[in-house]
Symmetry: C2
Subunit: 407 residues, 2 copies
């Protein structure tokens, strides 16, 4: 069966990193996320909840921020049809999922006006159960809604959100205690919105299991290979930035999520490289000038799909100058541009890797999710930092709470 | 009258950069964009077109990529209500504007299915008139549409798109020949979609004129101040990245456009710093760990609004632990988090600047547009590069055309 391919040949050799893999494997129980692909029971519970939900509910708003939004949005964006928000809705049609990850009153206020309160389910997501932004959003909407229109995703035992949910009779899904927010894609954080959108959550787990075997293997390990090469280009060649470029619109959000995985796992003690997510072809017309002709301080990882599904045909050209387009497809054109952009960077000596999904299937997205998670973790021992925790954000939180008079 | 404030005090002193300003002013006619705020006639033509357009047209799709999409989307996103795509439509209501900037058949194909062809106007934007992606999109849709549902924005005289439009009787708006794509916000590239959305295009020009006076002034010049400080932090302190963080969701697209301005104006001859656009508060939960605790290789520019308009009130807290939220507003909370995040970075010695719009008005957005444009241009002489042109992308284009058999 076709699997996600990682082509890192153009990155050159990197030092062995077996010790880094061993360091992460030694913490497997503590990190928790490698066990998630086996949890078919949770997947089933999410599917059952989605099936049993009132068919008049045609919209789901996910209230969550950071790790309570990015992994879920990444999976949804990769698998749900594009322009989801514009799609027709109704009984039997897929539900629309909206991710409200900010407290800007201009945008959140507009959202409250735009959704029909009788047809909307609110999925409140917070691992700690006390995230200020998410609790504030919940306080805004809670008293307007019947209990059946709120479902929480949080720690099974601790946290204020769990207490509130118990008191109010809101349904709750669990985030296993060891799993941190950024690694929660395959918990109900990612699986429940996916199930509510009618996506194939079992396929996600199947793919993740398949990639798990590869990222735990002693040889030909794509996570170790990628992490070692990206780290080596940073410390040995001063390439302090990792530019990831999606050549499929749906995969861009996976790279935004990778940005979080990278920043929070590695950005510690003055170390870590900086992730930048980009989109092809548009960023050929925005950022490529800097990549090709600016400083040689970046590594490039192109992420694409081998088979795009139905192409959009370009019929007859409208002008003789455009004859080269006639009879081709938009996807064909995009693939030609991808190859040309890679060749152009390689010709300038810029280091390039390529991750190719066979197609944008649930299995392939599950594989990619586990690959991105494991790559960011394996890089941590190479940088000499602890991938767990986010100590650098505590000071800002303390300052905000002090200003708000929270004791 | 309140104007956009640039607070760069926490960046410290930077060398004088009067010569850089002089170098750009000397090329004023060639660059062309500084004259745009005076062109009320074009603004009027865009407004008149929008008013005369069939009221049954409730959706506009902009076909364009890079400089033919980013500046227009930046303005639209800053001023149109959020969740525009979900808003009700109909005669008398604002039109929905969708920016289709890619040739991914999965997303463009979905768009074709989602919009009602009888109620949609297609605005085809290409300065050169030969952009491969945009021409391909146009070839896909053109033969399905009556002439009145296509309007082009292109060079007034040259280019294939202009020839096709003439032959087919499509209405055209002009991009003044000296103005390059990334500097075209205040041409019909930005003004026509804004007018079609019912936004205040005259206010945009008014604000831009006001900022023009400030960025041409010999003293207290915010563009010179910012450009000099960002360049100085790069070359003197190794801070090779400029992180811009929008604390208003609508302004994020302005920072994505700034990314293009920065990459294409400065990323040349191995020089230029790297722009990264981020969103507050969400990126406090995704990227802040790296900013605060990772390498000291970045400068931070926070962009926000002094007055957010109507706040969303947080009524009674749902739990005693959340009491600190009760009676506050979401915008108030966001402002507290902004201040705490800045203080936290400053306490770690990270260089921070702040751009504050009095509010998200057309005037302020016009000011901000001109400020971002001029800052990216003034930085070019400091880096010793020519801000015009994008020589680094030509090789990739040649390779793509060769693969497509274009002669």
């Amino acid at each position: 069966m076709a699997q996600v391919q990682v082509d890192a040949a153009a990155l050159g050799a990197a030092p062995a990193a077996d010790h880094a893999l061993a360091a992460i494997v030694a913490r497997r129980a503590e990190l928790g996320f490698l066990e998630l692909p086996d949890d078919r029971e949770t997947a089933r519970a999410c599917i059952d909840y989605a099936r049993a939900l009132d068919r008049d509910i045609d919209t789901v708003v996910v209230l969550g921020i950071g790790g309570s939004s990015l992994p879920a949005r990444a999976i949804h964006s990769a698998l749900a049809p594009a322009y989801d928000a514009l799609a027709p809705r109704g009984p039997g049609l897929p539900r629309r999922i909206l991710f409200a990850d900010n407290i800007d009153p201009a945008s959140f206020g507009a959202l409250l006006e735009r959704v029909d309160p009788r047809r909307t389910l609110w999925n409140v997501v917070s691992k700690s159960g006390g995230t200020a932004e998410t609790c504030a959003q919940l306080c805004v909407v809670a008293d307007r809604l019947p209990a059946a229109q709120i479902v929480c995703t949080t720690d099974p035992a601790s946290g204020t959100l769990r207490e509130v949910a118990r008191a109010r009779g809101w349904m709750c899904f669990d985030i296993p205690p060891p799993v941190s927010g950024r690694l929660s894609a395959l918990t109900p954080v990612g699986l429940l919105p996916a199930a509510l959108a009618g996506l194939d959550v079992v396929g996600l787990l199947d793919g993740a299991r398949r990639m798990r075997d590869r990222v735990l293997a002693p040889a030909d390990n794509p996570a170790v290979r990628l992490a070692a090469a990206l780290h080596h280009h940073h410390v040995a060649h001063g390439r302090a930035m990792v530019v990831t470029i999606a050549y499929a619109d749906g995969l861009y959000a996976m790279l935004e999520w990778l940005g979080q995985l990278w920043c929070e796992s590695l950005g510690k003690q003055g170390r870590g490289s900086t992730p930048i997510a980009a989109r092809g072809a548009p960023d050929q017309h925005a950022q490529l000038q800097l990549w090709a002709d600016g400083p040689d301080d970046k590594v490039y990882v192109f992420v694409t799909v081998a088979s795009r599904g139905p192409d959009v045909a370009i019929p007859a050209a409208l002008h003789a100058d455009w004859q080269y387009l006639a009879g081709r497809g938009l996807g064909e054109l995009l693939d030609v541009e991808l190859a040309a952009t890679i060749d152009s960077l390689v010709a300038r000596g810029r280091p390039v890797a390529r991750i190719v999904l066979p197609r944008a299937s649930a299995e392939a997205v599950g594989e990619l999710a586990l690959l991105l998670e494991m790559t960011s973790l394996v890089a941590a021992p190479l940088y000499g930092v602890d991938p767990a925790g986010e100590p650098g954000v505590e000071d800002g939180k303390r300052r905000a709470f002090a200003a708000l008079g929270r004791t």
